[in-house]
């Protein structure tokens, strides 16, 4: 378990002071994929860098499995970092080393024999699907491939926590998807706790179980991802769920019911689904707002539907839509707006 307690960070400049984190409290269960989302400059990188003490917090503590990492000696801190590894937006591979040698790097640091390190590195490259690139240099790889090498490198020392700071922000949607799948795989098969920093709600939706929304250095909302999607409370959360403006500002009309349909990799797109609903059940639904993308054959995102014709129709529509795989439907109430 990672407990971030009353964490604050101030950067003192020549003539100004930046309050990058303000009294942050988060608890991250072991084995989960935890998202931290916020706009640029919200303090996400600072927060994640405080977890492995690359940045010293001004106030507060970080406990990893009960150990106060801020109180560790330099030597113990370096040992801790071998168990709490990190991947980055810009991959940060050593450009003058082959992929294999990059994965060997953390093993070299702990003084593992060359032949053993190489063997382990080959296994890891196999896990990330890049065995054939072992002797290539990073500059010869695509961004997605470089990030896979970086992931293999981060796994070399058998970490229990993987910190991902905007790991997919430099990648196209398809590559993003495959890297997220890899992270999810690692989480499931190796039981590694993953902390995923991003500014994209789609990343959170796809792999995180819980999320904290960071704004101006403060956590403005925290909870289960599905809860935040169906009932975003803070303005920041609503902005993230509906980046193109909040459709729920329209008041619910007399006799109207609203549902939010969340596509979580469903093999379906919004319009045919609505048309199907009308055809099969005779229920007309109007799309009040939508923020969906399709990646490959699958749809991600959510939309808000307004249904006239009473509660029964709404329930029928809800059940109908829910029967589609990877679609979650929830009723939206006025007070949740």
């Amino acid at each position: 378990m990672i407990e971030i307690v009353n964490l604050s960070k101030r950067f003192i400049g020549a003539d100004d002071e930046v309050h990058a984190l303000r009294n942050v409290n988060i608890t991250i269960p072991n084995g989960s994929i935890y998202g931290i989302i916020g706009m640029s400059g919200a303090g996400k990188s600072t927060l994640v860098r405080c977890i492995n003490m690359l940045e010293r917090p001004t106030e507060g503590t970080v406990l990893i499995d009960g150990v106060d990492v801020g109180a560790l000696s330099e030597k113990d801190l370096r040992d801790m970092r071998k168990k709490v590894t990190m991947i980055f937006q810009s991959f940060n591979l050593l450009m003058q080393r082959t992929c294999l040698k990059n994965v060997c790097f953390p093993l070299e640091l702990v003084g593992i024999k060359k032949s053993e390190a190489k063997k382990r590195a080959m296994e890891l490259l196999e896990i990330v699907g890049l065995l054939d690139k072992a002797n290539a240099y990073p500059a010869q790889l695509s961004g997605g491939q470089q990030q896979r090498v970086a992931i293999a490198r981060a796994l070399a020392t058998d970490p229990k926590v993987l910190l991902c700071d905007e790991a997919t922000s430099a990648l196209d949607p398809k590559t993003t998807h495959s890297i997220l799948e890899l992270i999810q795989d690692i989480n499931r098969t190796l039981g590694i706790t993953c902390i995923v920093i991003t500014h994209q709600m789609s990343v959170i939706e796809r792999i995180c179980s819980r999320v904290a929304i960071l704004e101006n250095g403060s956590v403005v909302e925290e909870g289960e991802v599905s809860d935040i999607f169906s009932h975003p409370k803070s303005a920041a959360a609503r902005h993230l769920v509906f980046p193109d403006g909040d459709p729920e500002v329209l008041a619910i009309r007399e006799g109207e019911h609203r549902i939010r349909v969340v596509f979580n990799g469903a093999i379906a797109t919004e319009r045919p689904l609505i048309a199907q609903l009308a055809k099969d059940k005779g229920i007309e639904a109007s799309i009040l707002g939508a923020n969906t993308k399709s990646i490959g054959e699958k749809a991600y995102g959510n939309m808000l539907l307004g249904i006239m014709g009473g509660k029964e129709d709404m329930i029928i529509a809800k059940e109908y839509l829910e029967s589609v795989e990877d679609v979650i439907v929830e009723e939206v109430f006025e007070d949740a707006q």
């Binding site: 801190l77 940060n92 003058q96 953390p106 070299e108 640091l109 702990v110 490198r153 020392t157």
Partner: protein, 235 residues
């Protein structure tokens, strides 16, 4: 004066001098330059590393006073003209080599003049490195020493080789100047025959040979710098 530089007698005499002295002079110039560069790198490389890692935001912050003294010392040595420096280090040269004249003795002032220059070149090479790569190494639990020897230096190799090439060609120029106070090599030939004895043809040949040696060093250096750089695709 110049008109009789190209008479038959002058030409024959020059050819005689060249054939007897030039091979040794070329050899002396090359080995003095290479040895001086090597010694200067041995001293200058660690100092250049200290200039970068010892900073307030560096990976191994050193006391501010120490950094100021180091920087000041390097700047001081760099601002003394080479001719004066050669004379100033006479006592040191005598203490190390036993004499202040001769080819070997000229290595001492060359090293003293070159290591501060090399320290600054190393500093600039290391500063080019992407700080994110150092951050990644820190995040993997690398110690400051490991970061220096496994990340900073290896990742800067192409730039370090380019800068070593600049250093070696500059030192070659200095070594020619050391001919004035008893150093050997092509510089000595150019000065003793050309300046003191008006044998311009000999001087011209010596200068042309210096130019050729610079060119060779430069080409080799550039080739290695490019070859060592794995950031360039398709090799």
């Amino acid at each position: 004066m110049l008109s009789n530089a190209f008479t038959k007698e002058a030409f024959d005499e020059a050819m005689f001098i060249l054939s007897t002295e030039i091979p040794l002079a070329v050899w002396e110039t090359v080995y003095v330059t290479i040895l001086s560069t090597l010694f200067a790198i041995i001293i200058g490389l660690p100092l250049g590393v200290l200039l970068v890692v010892g900073e307030k935001n560096g990976i191994l912050p050193l006391p501010n006073v120490f950094m100021r003294i180091l920087g000041g010392f390097i700047n001081l040595l760099r601002s003394i003209p080479f001719l004066i420096l050669m004379i100033l280090v006479f006592p040191l040269t005598r203490a190390i080599v036993g004499t202040t004249v001769g080819t070997v003795a000229s290595i001492v002032p060359l090293v003293i003049a070159a290591f501060p220059f090399i320290a600054r070149l190393v500093e600039s090479s290391l500063r080019e490195l992407d700080p994110n790569i150092i951050e990644a190494a820190r995040s993997m639990g690398a110690s400051p020493f490991q970061i220096i020897v496994k990340v900073m230096i290896p990742e800067s190799i192409p730039s370090l080789i380019s800068n070593a090439t600049i250093a070696i060609t500059t030192i070659l120029g200095y070594s020619a100047m050391s001919g004035i106070i008893g150093g050997g090599g092509l510089g000595k030939i150019a000065i003793t025959y050309g300046y003191y004895r008006y044998k311009y043809l000999v001087m011209v040949v010596a200068v042309v040979l210096l130019v050729i040696i610079v060119e060779i060093f430069q080409r080799i250096g550039t080739k290695f710098a490019i070859k060592s750089d794995k950031r360039l695709k398709n090799q």
